[in-house]
């Protein structure tokens, strides 16, 4: 069926003692017992409570802001408006941790004059109690003079449209030109054109944004913060006007992130108030604040023109993308770039043209969200594959088989991924695992869908990403890992432990991991972009290997063999060819300690560094590597009510090498839930920029009643560039889910709903239109 990949296999036939086992994560028992402190669980004596005052019109001029009554209220320590701020801006770009040039995307910390989105912060209150802060909030007087706004990115592109950002609202543009798309389309037997629409999505982590800040005895502003990115300390320092080494972020285990805690959220507010009041300040967003306080997933409008031959060979594709960036730029240029690179999907397309634009509107700003543009592209390219198959009257799987990219072939940017491309195996296995279909009965129509994908892991290579980890062995043989990596729930820190104990031949009971303190743990970069295992895992592995090598050299001396003959596993050190000759690991460590052998190592791992893509053709390297896989579902659609139920849901992914299968399954299962909500029920409704669904009773995530038991099929090519040949799975787990569901619904009812989410209303409307057209 598939050729064995012609790429290096990092660990074929290797037996691991700790790796690849579904061991309980180091953070799990504490969380189960209720012993794990989250950022919101910290308090300090004399602490003040913060409240944010927000604009209640999306596009307006601030004509009056009077906080004097609030300031006079007993128990109010401080009220800050833009007038109190030094003339500084907040950076919203991808953190410049590597010193790479940032984009020009800074924005105002508090509204100076122009309000661009509903809920944009006007003022900050710090008070002795939450109740007093609430009363002060009522005493703040402001007036907003409405300015004509624009809430649709296509409208925002028209001449004469209200300007939200820049000269023409276009905040980013990307092009990919490979081969000759028009010639490819002209050579086709059939050209199929469709437009697909994707919606806003809320991250809906269960822990709202929360933090506690104080200035310490060295005048360092400390922030205990729920964040994916402790290295925002640099942007925070710039925003409040202090040197970078005067801001310290102490992370905590994060109550969910999904990209929603990737940008700076409340850190700058906390830092400003801690500086100004000289007291600890705490801010915890309400759920409604959280809904309006961080960026959403970009809605996209994607138009695909695909040319194919009669026998199903793609001859060319033209793609036009418009993304709604909302009121501020944030990470829109990067999200858009991911979408453009992903445009053809995991298919061999020699003639490709992509033109993608991100457009400012007065909607909520949009930024990072698990899947990061690659997912929106997949929603389009995989629905388009089904539409092409339908037009050709060809089996959907067969069309995909004839076009899948193979190992060693270049992607859209001309870059050849260094690892195996096992999309075909993943798709076949997921499809087959659906088994026998349930029968359609009356108004309950059964349908099936599949979506294959390509999703990057690791950050854009032109950002020159690095990550550090430190591994040390204590005198009693226990192991310590230190790394700045934040754990947002996927088991990022436990994986580092599992890697270190595998290398050092001890067990998970022997390791403790210290993480996410920007001042005292080695800086590991962001927990974003499916990079934590790849980047920090490699750093931890190399650090552990360096320690192991020194210990093994000493053991070799003891055994009278070569260092390469020394094995370490299950707390024993032994001669590989003669395991009888051994000693306890702890005894070796004691010898090394007595003799001053260096038992720790700090390693910086560097991702491949590249130049920017060619601005005209988009050719070059964008990412370090890619994960490939597929998701298959079976649904039932009730043609009377329009309701869709997902009956079977199967993700098949080549993860390279599983570090912890339970954690990998967890990513697949959770990603499936997120994708199902995106496909069917999660809808953010805005009226002139005002969010009218700011709660979990209006914004409907899949519950225990909605989710099928998810089946995970894990393939291991051991070809990835992560530790032990691992690839990333955090974002890839989600990418294919929504288009698979959309394809299944279309299969069930014979007509496609071109806009997500596929709500009962949209299903019924589509059926009705189809019926009318048929009459």
């Amino acid at each position: 069926m598939t050729d064995t990949p012609e790429v290096a296999s990092a660990g074929a036939n290797v037996e691991y003692s700790q790796l690849g086992k579904g061991l309980p994560r180091t953070d799990a028992p504490g969380k189960a017992a209720g012993k794990t402190p989250y950022a919101g669980d910290y308090i300090m004596p004399g602490m003040l409570h913060v409240k944010v005052v927000r604009a209640d019109i999306a596009s307006a001029k601030l004509t009056k802001l009077d906080v004097s009554k609030a300031r006079e209220l007993n128990g109010v320590a401080c009220v800050i408006t833009a007038a109190d701020l030094p003339d500084r801006m907040a950076a919203t770009d991808i953190p410049g941790q590597t010193g790479q040039k940032r984009l020009d995307t800074d924005n105002q910390i508090l509204v100076r004059e122009r309000v661009r989105y509903w809920g944009e912060p006007l003022a900050l209150i710090a008070a002795e109690t939450k109740d007093i802060a609430d009363r002060a909030w009522e005493l703040i007087e402001f007036e907003l003079e409405p300015i004509a706004g624009v809430y649709d990115p296509e409208e925002a592109l028209k001449p004469g449209a209200p300007i939200v950002q820049g000269k023409n609202n276009v905040v980013a543009e990307h092009k990919i030109k490979k081969g000759d798309a028009e010639a490819g389309l002209a050579a086709a037997d059939l050209v199929i054109e469709n437009t697909f629409r994707t919606p806003f999505q809320e991250h809906a982590f269960l822990e709202p944004e929360v933090g506690l800040a104080w200035a310490d005895e060295n005048d360092v502003v400390n922030i205990r913060m729920s964040t994916q990115v402790i290295e925002h300390f640099r942007f925070i320092a710039d925003a409040i006007g202090v040197p970078h080494n005067k801001v310290r972020i102490r992370g905590a285990l994060v109550g969910g992130g999904f990209g929603g805690k990737e940008d700076v959220t409340i850190e700058i507010y906390l830092a400003l108030l801690a500086k100004r009041t000289g007291r600890p300040v705490r801010l915890e967003y309400s759920r409604e604040d959280s809904f309006v306080g961080h960026g959403k997933r970009h809605p996209f409008i994607l138009t695909y023109r695909t040319g194919v031959t009669k026998d199903g060979k793609i001859t060319g594709i033209d793609v036009q993308m418009i993304a709604d960036a909302g009121a501020y730029v944030y990470l829109s240029p990067y999200v858009l770039l991911y979408a453009a690179v992903a445009a053809p999907g995991p298919y061999k397309v020699e003639n490709l043209n992509v033109y993608a634009r991100a457009v400012a509107t007065n909607n909520m700003f949009t930024s990072a969200f698990r899947g990061f543009g690659g997912m929106q592209a997949c929603v389009a390219y995989e629905q388009q594959m089904d539409e092409v198959a339908k037009a050709l009257d060809m089996d959907r799987m067969e069309l995909r088989r004839r076009n899948f990219l193979k190992t060693g072939e270049p992607i859209s940017t001309g870059f050849i991924p260094p690892s195996a491309i096992w999309t075909d195996q993943c798709a076949e296995q997921a499809w087959e695992a659906l088994g026998e279909p349930a029968p359609s009965e009356g108004h309950l129509k059964i349908g099936r869908g599949i979506a294959a994908y390509q999703q990057s892991y690791g950050r854009l290579t032109f950002l020159h990403d690095t990550s550090e980890a430190w591994v040390g062995v204590e005198v009693d043989g226990t192991v310590i890992v230190r790394s700045g990596v934040t754990d947002i729930g996927a088991g990022q820190i436990s994986a580092l432990g599992q890697i270190a104990v595998e290398i050092l031949g001890v067990t998970m009971d022997d390791v403790v991991i210290y993480n996410s303190d920007s001042a005292v743990t080695p800086l590991a970069g962001t927990t974003t972009a499916t990079r934590a295992l790849y980047m920090t895992g490699n750093a931890a592995k190399q650090a552990a290997e360096a320690v192991r090598d020194r210990l093994a050299a000493r053991a070799a001396q003891e055994f009278g063999v070569e260092p390469g003959d020394v094995g370490m596993a299950y707390n024993k050190v032994y001669v590989v060819n003669n395991p009888e000759q051994s000693m306890p690991f702890v005894d070796l460590v004691k010898i090394c300690a007595a003799e001053g052998v260096h038992r720790s190592e700090l390693v910086m791992f560097r991702a491949p560094f590249s130049d920017h893509l060619d601005p005209e053709t988009g050719q070059g390297q964008a990412h370090p590597d890619y994960t490939y896989g597929a998701h298959a579902v079976e649904v039932s659609v009730d043609t009377d009510t329009g309701e869709v139920a997902v009956l079977k849901s199967i993700g098949a992914h080549d993860v390279g090498q599983c570090v912890n299968p339970a954690a990998v399954q967890g990513q697949i299962e959770g990603g499936t839930q997120n994708g199902q909500g995106y496909a069917l029920s999660e809808e953010m409704l805005y009226e002139e920029g005002k969010l009218v669904t700011p709660s979990f009773s209006e914004y409907l995530m899949p519950t225990s009643m909605d989710m099928p038991k998810v089946q995970s099929i894990i393939l291991e090519s051991r070809s990835g560039i992560g530790p032990f040949g691992a690839k990333g799975i955090g974002e890839p787990a989600l990418t294919g889910v929504a288009p698979a569901i959309a394809n299944a619904v279309a299969d069930a009812i014979g007509v496609r709903v071109f806009e997500l989410p596929i709500t009962p209303e949209r299903v019924l409307m589509t059926l009705r239109e189809h019926q009318k057209a048929a009459e």
Binding site: A33, D131, A204, E669, N674, S697
Partner: protein
């Protein structure tokens, strides 16, 4: 603003006096007393992260007023077991990988405990219904179903002691 009143809450078997106004929710009162294992997710009864047992029944502590909780037995996830001697639910959630970010976990474990007390041998559908008031954004519930099934079996074998 209402006046404060001294009340005594029975939390995990200990009497804890506290002075709170009438509008203070049980969630706020518990967290102010240091029971930060009770998590705040929405303050609207939508997510279940703040669930505690009140006389053995799971309730959203954000929808319960502290004043009305006097004289009742309040149990948080810390009252079920600790890291050395975890409750079967705490152990199964940890062992099966049903915990990711863990923020919803205390509420899920409390809701599971309440459900198993009513129905010691729940089917998958019973578990779905029993946990339908608890949102989780990380796990997709697949391993949560496994964890609850596994714990219920252990609890039956123990004769309903835990």
């Amino acid at each position: 603003m209402s006046t404060n009143k001294m009340i005594t809450l029975n939390i995990n078997g200990r009497e804890e006096p506290t002075e709170v106004p009438a509008h203070r929710t049980l969630l706020e009162a518990l967290r102010d007393l240091g029971h930060v294992e009770v998590k705040c997710g929405c303050e609207k009864g939508d997510c279940g992260a703040c669930a505690v047992l009140v006389d053995g029944m799971a309730v959203d502590s954000c929808l319960t007023l502290a004043w009305t909780s006097e004289g009742k037995e309040i149990t948080t996830v810390l009252g079920l077991g600790d890291m050395e001697t975890p409750h079967p639910l705490q152990k199964s959630f940890s062992d099966t990988g049903a915990i990711q970010c863990g923020y919803c976990t205390p509420g899920l474990i409390i809701a599971s405990k309440s459900m198993i007390a009513e129905n010691p041998d729940p089917s998958e559908q019973d578990i779905r219904i029993g946990l339908s008031g608890n949102l989780c954004r990380c796990t997709g519930y697949t391993k949560v179903f496994d964890a609850v099934t596994e714990a219920a079996a252990v609890m039956r074998a123990e004769g309903g002691k835990s």
